[in-house]
Subunit: 159 residues, 2 copies
């Protein structure tokens, strides 16, 4: 009876690169064979070599998140070759500013009512405090500056 | 008298790559010599060859924006090797959701007051309209899904 040895299918990276997928393959944990597009996209935008170097500089327990964020960026760049996911940052930043202004205006109206009703001892809840930019953004600490002046050419960009 | 010919200094890309910067250099318009870090970062994350291919697929009038967004992404990835600028998207999306909830709550309070004051014919301004998710985000059309479930591991991430 001939013996047969079970071998894992090659990971998506090795299949794409047409190479043998060794047990020590550094891509295999993050590029399963059933997700071929993920590696294809990352390869096209970043290159296999750059991804490998990036992963080597990251602790193992964070590599999965790193690969997923690279895959997200790559997909964004393929869908929007000019702005990639930076376009989304610009849109979201404008959205945050818009919502803050709306909230400030609404809080101002609420304060008017609250002052008028002071005689009714209506307890003003925390959401009627006038927010300044910082207080309403307790979590918004971007690690780097806004990509563009928010009144930029992005306005005509369709997303 | 010996003639001298003026030659432009090499662009940042050609200087980095230690090659002659020809008049036809496709990088020169976007990587001026006084910004060496811009190309160094883009080269490290994306690679010169990938950037060149990307630019070739983009109309000339949009290449400057493309290069600047690549530079932004590269810098973000170098500062945050695990999440890059996708981390900022996650933070901003949570911020938008938070602000929307605050706005909805404040508008609800305002409606209470407005109803109570209906006899005073107080004209309710547009910002007291109860927003649903879509109305308060007229511009928020992400080209792709949120990178993560918003209750993800990012919470402990410091930015």
């Amino acid at each position: 009876m001939a013996s047969s040895s079970y071998s894992n299918p090659p990971c998506a990276a090795c299949k794409f690169l047409r190479r043998k997928c060794l047990p020590s393959c550094s891509f295999a944990p993050y590029f399963p064979p059933e997700e071929p597009t993920k590696f294809a996209n990352v390869h096209k935008i970043f290159g296999a070599s750059n991804v490998s170097k990036l992963l080597n500089e990251i602790p193992p327990h964070q590599r999965e998140d790193a690969v997923n964020s690279l895959a997200y960026e790559a997909e964004a760049r393929l869908k929007d070759p000019v702005y990639g996911c930076v376009g989304a940052i610009s849109v979201l930043q404008r959205q945050v500013l818009h919502l803050q202004k709306e909230l400030d205006a609404t809080n101002a109206d609420l304060m008017l009512y609250a002052n008028n009703d002071a005689a009714h001892s209506y307890q003003v809840t925390s959401n009627s405090t006038l927010y300044n930019g910082e207080e309403s953004n307790p979590g918004l600490i971007l690690p780097y500056a806004s990509p563009w002046n928010n009144s930029s050419s992005n306005d005509s960009k369709s997303m």
